[in-house]
């Protein structure tokens, strides 16, 4: 009867031994390789510090002008550009300029990193079905596992600071760009691809001349999603020592400062909306050849 009412579990002593063994093994790994891994990420850390300082110490009108210029280049829309300028003026006026610049810095670096890693992985997945079967479950884990769970080993390994924060953001923000690159390439019209093959195009010529250009709208939707997800990680990243808008939000939560939380939260929303509108209109312009009617 005992067998039916009590789950045949490992037992408290064995279980704690197992956990201690895993913890011990990882601790040993950290002791042995922690410094090496930290040294590996050192150039990245230096770059992030440099970039953050650049954004914070540059004269604010210059920063706003550059951001407005980027918004214009991306969207070609006066409305979006004006909205960007207004949003940043409001952020500065409400005393959130420095934190916003810090957030902007880590989001930019994270997005760039995700693109640099994610697009090649997506291409690999589109090329080989085997890669797709192997990588898809990894992406599922990355997207669904609670962030705190992977924060533990990251902090154990690298301590508290910008680099572990960046890793945490990237783990969460990488999947959409990989998935949408893969999807975009797989959705390319088979007859167009067959035509390229029939004209003797090599694998590389097909990839760069046909598949990537035709997958660009989807890839761009992936970039957009990646930015959004990176922004949503700002508060969690601030728990492990990343400067930015997440820090005051965290303070607001623990002290019940409604206004402080709201203002900084809205600043994150403003950043999200600007990034989203600019990247979406840019993505739409990429496929303008579709919209023109019969001439």
């Amino acid at each position: 009867m005992d067998f039916l009412t009590e789950f045949p579990s490992l037992g408290r002593r064995d279980l704690s031994a197992l956990r201690q063994a895993i913890d011990g093994a990882f601790r040993n790994f950290t002791r042995a390789y922690g410094e090496g891994i930290e040294a590996f990420f050192d150039p990245l850390l230096r770059f992030m510090i440099w970039f953050e300082r650049l954004l914070i110490h540059a004269p604010w009108p210059v920063v706003i002008a550059v951001l407005a210029g980027l918004a214009w280049l991306g969207s070609r829309s006066w409305k979006i550009t004006a909205g960007t300028v207004a949003a940043f003026l409001a952020i500065g006026w409400l005393g959130m300029w420095e934190n916003t610049m810090s957030t902007l810095a880590i989001i930019s670096v994270a997005t760039f990193l995700c693109i640099a890693i994610g697009i090649p992985i997506g291409i690999l997945m589109a090329r080989y079905n085997r890669a797709q079967t192997l990588i898809t479950p990894v992406l599922d884990v990355m997207q669904t596992i609670p962030s705190f769970v992977y924060l533990i080993p990251v902090v154990m390994l690298l301590g508290i600071g910008k680099v572990p924060g960046l890793l945490a953001v990237c783990i969460y923000a990488l999947p959409p760009i990989v998935r949408l690159t893969n999807l975009g390439i797989r959705l390319v019209d088979t007859e167009v691809l067959e035509a390229a093959t029939a004209f003797g195009a090599s694998t590389r010529e097909k990839l760069w001349g046909v598949q990537i250009p035709l997958a660009l709208p989807n890839i761009f939707a992936g970039v957009n999603q990646t930015i959004m997800m990176a922004l949503s990680m700002v508060v969690i990243a601030s728990m492990i020592g990343v400067q930015g808008l997440g820090v005051p939000v965290l303070r607001a939560i623990s002290n019940q400062y409604l206004a402080l939380g709201l203002m900084n939260g809205l600043a994150i929303v403003a950043l999200a909306i600007i990034f989203d509108r600019v990247s979406q209109t840019y993505g739409k312009r990429l496929q303008s050849y579709k919209d023109q009617g019969h001439g």
Binding site: D189, E191, E194, A195, A198, F199, S202, L214, K290
Partner: protein
């Protein structure tokens, strides 16, 4: 071009294609005589092509005709190995395509064969000009050369002025002109056309057939043209192969197919065509020194074209002359009526 008679441009020998998990095992079954239905039933393999033998002479327009599912699109994709056969030989200019490595195969596709697709297969993100340049770029030629050739062929297919348009801005007929220009720009001597005009409206289709025939008169390429449309096949084909369930049922001169269909399937196939428009005098005349009281008619004319002349002849017989004007036989009203009536009477007509 005497050597072309002995050496076909493309030669297909004992070609089999079976789709499924273990084509090699299924091949043995097929070679032992299993039918398409039996093969599907017993081993869940689909018979794509069975024992295809086809010689395609240089400078001719070979039509491969069949209804959907007959394997015609599968067959044409074997010529440049977009599909690999289960068994069989494909020779292009005497070279074994099956023995080619990747580089040789790419060169074959780049320089020797080009292809036109049913749904055009144009690059939607490139302009007409860039699309036509595509094959030339892949050949590794300079931008100047690509531009020069593209300009020439865009003009030749009647699209001058549309160079900077995107394919999505053009009608179907115009898009296929782009497809044709792209294929011609590579200067390949073999042109594969997979149901190239099937997606077009009837009027535009006729239009495109004319474009193709005009170009062919001048360029003398070897063209393999896939279609399911018998009228199209008869209009443009120098030679027709009819495919059914992956097998060639009859191949040869279009006239021979109409006058002497190999089996009930083909008889049924050709029963709805307007025979007066298709049958030519050479197919139904009685060879001989000539005679008859009517005005002479030419071997290349259709029945429809000579009906009036024949009717005016007092004895219902006209002499037939060939291209050179030499009398080669006679044609009688009886023969014409016989040919129009049905396939059997064609034989009677020959001896009347």
């Amino acid at each position: 071009m005497a050597d072309d008679v002995t050496e076909p441009k493309i030669r297909i020998r004992n070609l089999y294609k079976i789709f499924g998990e273990d084509p090699a095992a299924a091949l043995a079954q097929v070679q032992a005589g299993a039918s398409k239905a039996e093969l599907l039933e017993t081993s869940n393999h689909v018979l794509g092509l069975r024992d295809i033998n086809l010689d395609i002479p240089a400078h001719g327009l070979q039509v491969i005709m069949g209804l959907s599912g007959s394997g015609k699109s599968t067959l044409i994709r074997h010529f440049n190995r977009l599909i690999d056969p289960t068994a069989g030989e494909i020779l292009v200019d005497g070279e074994d395509v099956m023995a080619m490595n990747d580089t040789a195969l790419r060169d074959l596709r780049r320089f020797k064969m080009s292809m036109v697709f049913q749904k055009f297969g144009l690059l939607p993100h490139r302009t007409v000009q860039q699309n036509v340049e595509y094959g030339v770029h892949i050949q590794g030629l300079s931008d100047d050369e690509a531009q020069r050739r593209a300009a020439r062929w865009i003009d030749r297919v009647g699209l001058a002025g549309f160079e900077q348009h995107y394919p999505g801005q053009l009608s179907g007929g115009m898009q296929q002109r782009v497809g044709l220009a792209r294929a011609l720009a590579t200067d390949a001597d073999i042109l594969l056309m997979d149901e190239a005009f099937s997606a077009l409206d009837p009027l535009i289709r006729t239009d495109m057939q004319t474009v193709l025939l005009d170009l062919q008169a001048e360029l003398q390429k070897t063209i393999v043209f896939i279609t399911h449309d018998l009228d199209e096949a008869l209009r443009i084909g120098d030679s027709i192969a009819i495919l059914r369930d992956g097998e060639v049922v009859q191949a040869g001169d279009p006239q021979a197919i109409i006058m002497d269909p190999a089996d009930a399937y083909i008889t049924d196939f050709i029963k709805d065509i307007n025979r007066a428009k298709v049958i030519r005098i050479r197919s139904i005349m009685v060879p001989g020194p000539g005679g008859g009281q009517g005005a002479p008619v030419r071997t290349s004319q259709t029945i429809e074209e000579i009906l009036g002349v024949l009717h005016d002849s007092p004895d219902g017989v006209c002499p037939v002359i060939d291209k050179a004007g030499k009398t080669v036989g006679t044609i009688s009203m009886n023969a014409v009526i016989g040919a129009l009536e049905s396939r059997k009477t064609a034989e009677v007509a020959r001896y009347s």
